[in-house]
Each structure stands twice: as structure tokens, then as C-alpha cells.
């Protein structure tokens, strides 16, 4: 018996795929930016991603959301993807991961 369920494995795959989506201004990926709050894979209901942006009127919002959709859909072309944009908790630079901070200082 595996410790990780099939759904969890797929969620991890999505998590890894989203590491290819960059925040163009900051120059690091959106996982390390701390923009992704929840990833859920359900056989029946499809993929649900809860995420935020660094500001409500982020001019790159549509591009980032489009890239998230594309990255997920490339991985699971037959599955429905639902991306929900949330503003709570409000993003702040404290959400950047240790790996993100390290990457930022290499830029």
C-alpha cells in the first residue's frame, strides 16, 4: 500500500508543474512567491486551484492566471480546471518561501 494516494500524487504533479509559471516582475516562480494557496485533485470534480496575486489590480494577473491554466491543462488535458482567485489572506512578501528568497538574491 502506498502512503500517498493517487489524488495526492496528482496534486504534487500540479504543484511541480506550477513551478514553471513565473511572476514576470519579480522573476521567481509563483509557488516560491507564495501565490498558490490550495491545490485539489478530484476524480469526479476535476482540478481546483485556489490562488492569489500580489495585488488586486496586478497588471499581470490575466497572464499569470492564463499560465496557471495552461500549465495544469498541459499536464491533465482531459480534466476540468477551476481556478479561484482569493484575496484572503492578503499576499505580502512574507509569503515568499526560503527557496524563493534564495532565488531572488541570485537574480
Amino acid at each position: 500500500m502506498s502512503l500517498i494516494s493517487d489524488e495526492n500524487k496528482k496534486e504534487l504533479e500540479i504543484y511541480d508543474a506550477l513551478k514553471s509559471v513565473m511572476d514576470p516582475e519579480v522573476g521567481i516562480n509563483i509557488i516560491d512567491m507564495g501565490l498558490i494557496y490550495k491545490i485539489k485533485y478530484d476524480q469526479a470534480e476535476g482540478i481546483y486551484i485556489e490562488m492569489t496575486l500580489s495585488s488586486k489590480a496586478c497588471p499581470m494577473g490575466n497572464i499569470i492566471l492564463g499560465d496557471v491554466e495552461k500549465a495544469t491543462q498541459t499536464l491533465f488535458p482531459e480534466t476540468k480546471v477551476n481556478i479561484k482567485l482569493v484575496w484572503e489572506p492578503e499576499w505580502n512578501p512574507g509569503f515568499i518561501t526560503a527557496a524563493g528568497k534564495k532565488a531572488l538574491n541570485r537574480l
Binding site: M22, E25, L53, A57, I63, V81
Partner: protein
């Protein structure tokens, strides 16, 4: 599926302001290089008036107009009220400013000066309507919005005062010395328009670019009231009381507001997550340190010394504001904003793939450009105070080189925009 989140202002409108402003900066630096004799004389002379308006309106104001049309919707989380008004504003300003500069240069104080002043004021009124209506449409009210709206109100007063001064040159109807009103007009523009606007916008953009968590926003309220009270007092004192003590009190109030704001910037800088700064951000942070120079020069100007002694200080004061603070800040911020605007327009269909905004210009050129600008400014200021023409030419030549390199980078970014190629 996802819902669209935000509508950006059309890039064509915004970049036209940036291009106009960049060319104005190049023209301003070239005029400075060939006009050393006017910098060693009185500040009230045609060529210096032309150059000041070229830098204040053509360079600073046009760049700020363009940047505001793009970033006000981001700061206020609401779309721009009217893109059509933004286009009309460009039309009026782009015809009014060159005409106004020509009128000052030739000292055609009759209809040319009056006509082009009217074009500039029309452009400014249209701009103000657009900004006020956009601010009114936001639910995300914050102190940055207060700074921006108040600065636009001061801009209206500045251009209004400008047209009164233009008429006074022909009809001499003002009760006191023309130069007294000229000083009030200049400070309405410098403190009321440029300073308040720069504080309002940078109070949001600098922590955003530095990635500073929890900037001390309460300080911004203090800066807002101290600067505005000081400026109102300065204008009222200049028009009615004309007391030296009151002038010092107003100066202290404005300087206090600036010190509070610089404390805010230092706090953002200290707590930033992004430790490595690019050339643009280095330039921007440096601009706030340069602010100490006009403050120091202003202390000298408050001293009631002989006019002959003070003249080089007046010129150095203006240079430290326009070539020092305002230009250094704008040069830095253009690298943070223009590539980003062009990148957004190119990436509509995700066709840029791995390219980022910073890949659209040369960072090496940007570093050299900022170095030349600072070197030029550092040489120019003592050259003015000590009246040494050789150093003046050397300093202004460095600024010309900086302006040429800057325009090369702007051309590089614009090439991507016009050819639609990454």
C-alpha cells in the same frame, strides 16, 4: 477557467508619453551643454526659462502623466476613467510644450507665449479630470490616492499661476515684483506637484519593487500633512505676509515631511526581501538621498544675503532638483516600468515564453547610464557654485552621455514594442 482580473490602459497611449519625455530629456541635456553662459548669470532669462520648462513639463511631467495612466489603475484597483482623455491630453501637451519652450527661448511674450500656455493648461485640465474621476471610482481609498489627488490640484494651481505670470509679462498687472510670484509658481510645481506625486506613487511602488513586508504606512499621513501645511503656509506668506520667520517655519514643516517620508523609504529598504537591487532600483533609492542637497541649498537661500551672492545657489538649487532628485528617480523608475508595459503588450497571447521585462533592455547600458548621470551631477553642482566653466561643460557632457545611453535603451525597448517581436 478563470475570470479576467484587471484591464490595463492601452500601451500605445502610455508609451507615447515615455518617448516624448525621453526625447525632452535628451534635448534638455544638450541645451545645458551648449548654454554654460546662462547658468552663470541670473535665473530669470529666456534660455533658462525655456530649459526649466523643457525639463519640468517635457521631461518630468510628461513621464509622470504616462506612468500615472498606466499605474494609477494598479494603485487604486480601478480602470482609468478615460483613455480618450489621455490621448487628447497628449495632443495638447505635445503641441503646447514645444511651442511654450520656443516662446520662452525667443522671449515672445505676446501671443505665442499666451497661446501655447493655453494649450498646456488645456492638456493639464483634461489630465486632472481623468485623474480625479479615476480616484472617485475607487473603493480602495488610501493615503497614496490622497497624495496623488492633492498633487494634481497643486499642478492645476501651478499652471494657472503660470498663465497669470505669462500675462503679467505683457500687461504688468501684479502688485508685487514678478520674481516673487515666479518663486511661488516654481515651488507650487516642485513641492505641490512633483514632490507630492512622487511620494504618493513611490510609497506604493518602492515597497512593491523591493518586496518589503508591512511598510510603516502611518508615517505617510505625517508626511502628507506636514508637506501640505508647509506649502499652504509658504504660498500664503509669499502672497500676503512675507515674513522671514514664517518662511523658515514653512520650510521646516516641508523638510519635516520629507524626513518622515525618507524614514519610510529607509524602513522599506531595511526590511526588503529582495536584497540584490537592479540598476533601476539603485537609481531610485539614490534619488531620495540626493534630496538632502536641495534641502541644504534651500537653507542657504533662506538666509537674507545679497542677491549677487545667492544667484549661483538659486541655479544650483534648481539643478539639484531637476537633474538631481527628479531625473535620477525617473531614470531609475523608467527601467522598472517601460519594459514591463511593453512586455505586457507583447505577452497578450503568452508569446514571450521565458522572456522577462528586464530582458527587453540592456542592464549593462542602464548601469553605465546611471553612473554617467550621477558623475555629471556631482561635477555640475560644484561647477555652478564655484563658477568654473570647464567643469560645467564636463559635468553636462556626462549628463548628455547619460541621456544618449538612456534613449538607446528606450529605442531598444520601443523596437520590441513596434515590431511586436520579443
Amino acid at each position: 477557467m478563470h475570470a479576467p482580473v484587471h484591464q490595463n490602459t492601452k500601451p500605445g497611449i502610455v508609451v507615447s508619453y515615455y518617448v516624448f519625455a525621453s526625447l525632452a530629456f535628451l534635448a534638455g541635456s544638450l541645451i545645458t551643454l551648449v548654454s554654460s553662459e546662462v547658468f552663470f548669470g541670473h535665473y530669470f532669462q529666456p534660455r533658462l526659462l525655456a530649459l526649466t520648462h523643457l525639463l519640468a513639463l517635457g521631461w518630468g511631467t510628461m513621464m509622470i502623466f504616462g506612468a500615472l495612466f498606466q499605474f494609477l489603475p494598479v494603485l487604486l484597483e480601478t480602470p482609468l476613467y478615460s483613455e480618450r482623455l489621455a490621448k487628447l491630453t497628449f495632443g495638447f501637451m505635445a503641441t503646447g510644450i514645444p511651442g511654450l519652450i520656443y516662446a520662452f527661448w525667443e522671449f515672445s511674450i505676446g501671443w505665442p507665449l499666451q497661446l501655447f500656455s493655453v494649450l498646456v493648461i488645456t492638456g493639464t485640465v483634461l489630465f486632472s479630470i481623468n485623474i480625479f474621476k479615476t480616484v472617485r471610482g475607487t473603493s480602495a481609498h488610501n493615503i497614496a490616492a490622497d497624495f496623488i489627488s492633492t498633487s494634481v490640484a497643486w499642478l492645476l494651481l501651478t499652471v494657472g499661476a503660470g498663465i497669470v505670470l505669462a500675462l503679467n509679462l505683457s500687461y504688468l498687472f501684479l502688485p508685487a515684483d514678478h520674481l516673487l510670484y515666479l518663486k511661488l509658481h516654481a515651488h507650487l510645481g516642485i513641492v505641490g506637484w512633483f514632490l507630492l506625486l512622487i511620494i504618493g506613487v513611490s510609497s506604493r511602488l518602492i515597497p512593491m519593487f523591493l518586496l518589503s513586508p508591512d511598510p510603516p504606512k502611518a508615517l505617510l499621513n505625517w508626511a502628507y500633512y506636514l508637506i501640505n501645511v508647509g506649502l499652504c503656509g509658504f504660498i500664503a506668506n509669499g502672497l500676503m505676509v512675507r515674513s522671514s520667520i514664517l518662511a523658515i517655519v514653512c520650510f521646516l514643516s516641508i523638510t519635516g515631511g520629507l524626513v518622515v517620508y525618507i524614514t519610510y523609504i529607509i524602513s522599506c529598504y531595511k526590511h526588503r526581501v529582495r536584497k540584490n537591487l537592479d540598476a533601476g532600483m539603485r537609481g531610485s533609492v539614490l534619488a531620495f538621498l540626493i534630496l538632502a542637497l536641495p534641502i541644504a541649498l534651500c537653507i542657504v537661500l533662506l538666509w537674507e544675503a545679497e542677491e549677487k551672492f545667492l544667484l549661483p545657489f538659486y541655479i544650483a538649487y534648481g539643478v539639484s532638483i531637476f537633474f538631481g532628485f527628479i531625473s535620477t528617480l525617473i531614470l531609475g523608475q523608467v527601467y522598472k516600468t517601460l519594459p514591463f508595459i511593453v512586455w505586457l503588450s507583447l505577452n497578450k497571447n503568452g508569446n514571450l515564453q521565458k522572456k522577462l521585462p528586464r530582458d527587453l533592455y540592456s542592464e549593462t547600458l542602464a548601469k553605465f547610464q546611471i553612473l554617467f548621470h550621477l558623475a555629471g551631477f556631482v561635477i555640475l553642482l560644484p561647477a555652478l557654485l564655484l563658477k568654473t566653466e570647464t567643469f560645467f561643460i564636463l559635468g553636462s557632457a556626462c549628463i548628455v552621455i547619460s541621456a544618449v545611453i538612456f534613449n538607446m535603451n528606450v529605442v531598444k525597448i520601443m523596437y520590441h514594442f513596434l515590431s511586436k517581436k520579443p
